[in-house]
Subunit: 337 residues, 2 copies
DNA sequence: ATTGACGATGAAATCGTTTTCTGTCAGCGT
DNA sequence: ACGCTGACAGAAAACGATTTCATCGTCAAT
């Protein structure tokens, strides 16, 4: 079932059939007979052959590091909705925070001549976008920023978000504020931690100065289990923290679990999550969180990709979206106050 | 950068380069020089050309109806882990419960000559797998069963699960048991509801007989909002139910929200969820749920696909996995007892 | 009526692989 | 020494679309 069969059935040449399907100029009468023949034969064009000839397919890849994290699935919907309005299809690839898996997916995207790639990089250093950009494939980095890659990017203001978060805890009266951040080497981890540190430094001279060292800093893996383990460690310290800034949504769940085990609950211990805790409505008491525009992140990334594809948007561009502190505590403050 | 360039650099023919990359018989010396040339040039084979020639690509598509539902993302991980051990890559497509989007993805899968398709169908009737199966593409239906499609399938025992769930509520002493199920036309909706009805019928003669009509039956959309709305409706009835069997995890979240609004909480009102509520550890008091083997569902589907691809596994096969009732209530029973 | 212009059409080249088919050469048995 | 066998290499034909280029009409203007 090829374009030739349709051509023969309709009594025209393959070229004409192709033109009918691609909006070339064809006499209405002929066009109609081609349509009919195609429908009768149940013809569906071979996208592989088309991609080979055009040197470009019509699907774009979205590579994310954790498909079980609602932040990324929401981002994915943003990408999809934006692509929806074009003729492009989106396929999702889950790198599982594994640079090797990610490498394979990037290789697939390149080999399949994909129309573009949106990637939330598993690593700042090992993620190599060179082969893609060298071949002129439009690439947009979203959420995470790969080191020295000259690609368009969309991210949130992590430093600012972290700073606002920790400042909020300070203002609520907490003094021994811990930070559980993500893996070293991830841009998001580092920036959120830096924001946290900046807020503490700014409060220097007060009791917060004591926390300037690394006693209350933990690096975990951005997953529930990592948050749980890190929080247990912090609780086991001789002088446990009275509040914790958690650098992502899933780790916050682990933190809340660990607190529950120890019989503590917010706001007795301050908990501030970077990123909405999924289905937060079920969590009582409600949590304050730095809200991330995950959907918009995806949508913006897709828009950038489409513009880049069009040839508009010449210089490389980075869009930074603002976070918003969503205060949900009814009565905030440390247990003792 | 094609196979020809590598061939020229290595002083061999393109055919030989191809053989080196595909395990054909080649003199070690030549093979080495090809490897070196390829590495030096940074050659990556064009998968599109390969797919065109081989009439089959090396990626499989997984089409799911809701990427924001942890049940499906867990299933996706199962698929991926199983495929991991082969040379196949998995790409995810989100149909969003929209048969039109699903149709497009199926078309893409066909046109891209994908090595196989695993699909959790958005609809029982409108999902047309014919074009795929006609062309000999291996297809596995997972979770949802498309009507009269002769494909391998993996699903859970929905009827049994629904029956066990409602029986559990009956045994806990609830008498006016409602059921919020999914959209009409989805196999999972229907089967779970049928199980619910079977359990009620079996209890006939008791007060449960009153619930045999449709007063307490609601069809919603398998999403949080649908559950919330349906539960509000039920609560507004002259004689509201004292328990509810909710046919999926997300709707249960909406139900719990609606109950919260009304100042009710389990076990004052019985709530039994079909499928684990995501991050259930945060929900207090804990919920009883019919546990679904989502990961295994995915893994089994991928295994079936791989077997079908190998040519083993001649007759069409359906694997039914068992659900497990996970009781998590400390003190169960209606408010009045 | 002749020429020019323009628009639709088909033939054929092309995209980059895989694979068949044919050839060559070395080694071996007789 | 001759032929046979077998293994490996290369030439060339696929795969199914798009697209260039040439051709053929048709129509209008002079």
């Amino acid at each position: 079932m090829t374009i030739h069969d349709v051509a023969r059935a309709a009594g025209v040449s393959p070229a004409t059939v192709s033109r009918v399907f691609n909006g070339g100029k064809v006499t209405p009468a002929r066009a109609l007979s081609v349509q009919e023949a195609a429908a009768a034969l149940g013809f569906a064009p071979n996208r592989v052959a088309r991609s080979l000839r055009k040197q470009r397919s019509s699907v774009i890849a979205l590579i994310i590091p954790d498909i079980e994290n609602p932040f990324f699935t929401s981002l994915a919907r943003g990408v999809e909705d934006a692509a929806q309005r074009t003729s492009l299809s989106v396929v999702l690839c889950n790198s599982d925070e594994d640079t090797e898996k990610e490498r394979r997916y990037l290789e697939v995207a390149l080999g399949e001549q994909m129309a573009g790639v949106i990637v939330a990089a598993a690593s700042q250093d090992e993620t190599d976008l060179g082969p893609l950009t060298d071949r002129g494939v439009p690439v947009v980095a979203v959420d995470r920023r790969p080191r020295d890659a000259e690609v368009d990017a969309v991210r949130v203001d992590n430093h600012h978000g972290g700073e606002v978060a920790t400042r909020h805890l300070l203002q609520a009266g907490y003094r021994r504020i811990a930070c559980i951040t993500g893996p070293e080497g991830a841009s998001t981890s580092e920036e959120r931690l830096a924001g946290h540190r900046a807020a503490l430094s700014a409060a220097q001279g007060s009791a917060a100065a004591a926390a300037a060292d690394n006693t209350y800093i933990r690096h975990a893996d951005f997953r529930v289990e990592g948050g749980r383990v890190a929080m247990r460690e912090l609780l086991a310290l001789p002088e446990p923290p009275d509040a914790v800034f958690v650098a992502n949504n899933l780790m916050t769940i682990g933190v809340l679990d660990a607190l529950g085990e120890a019989g503590r609950t917010p706001p007795g211990v301050g908990v501030l999550s970077f990123g909405d805790v999924p289905w937060a409505s079920l969590v009582r008491p409600s949590l304050t969180a730095v809200e991330l525009p995950s959907y918009e992140l995806g949508r913006t990334a897709a828009d950038l990709l489409l513009q880049r594809r069009d040839g508009s948007l010449s210089p490389v561009q980075t869009v930074v979206l603002r976070t918003k502190l969503q205060v949900r505590e009814s009565t905030a403050g440390p247990a003792g106050s």
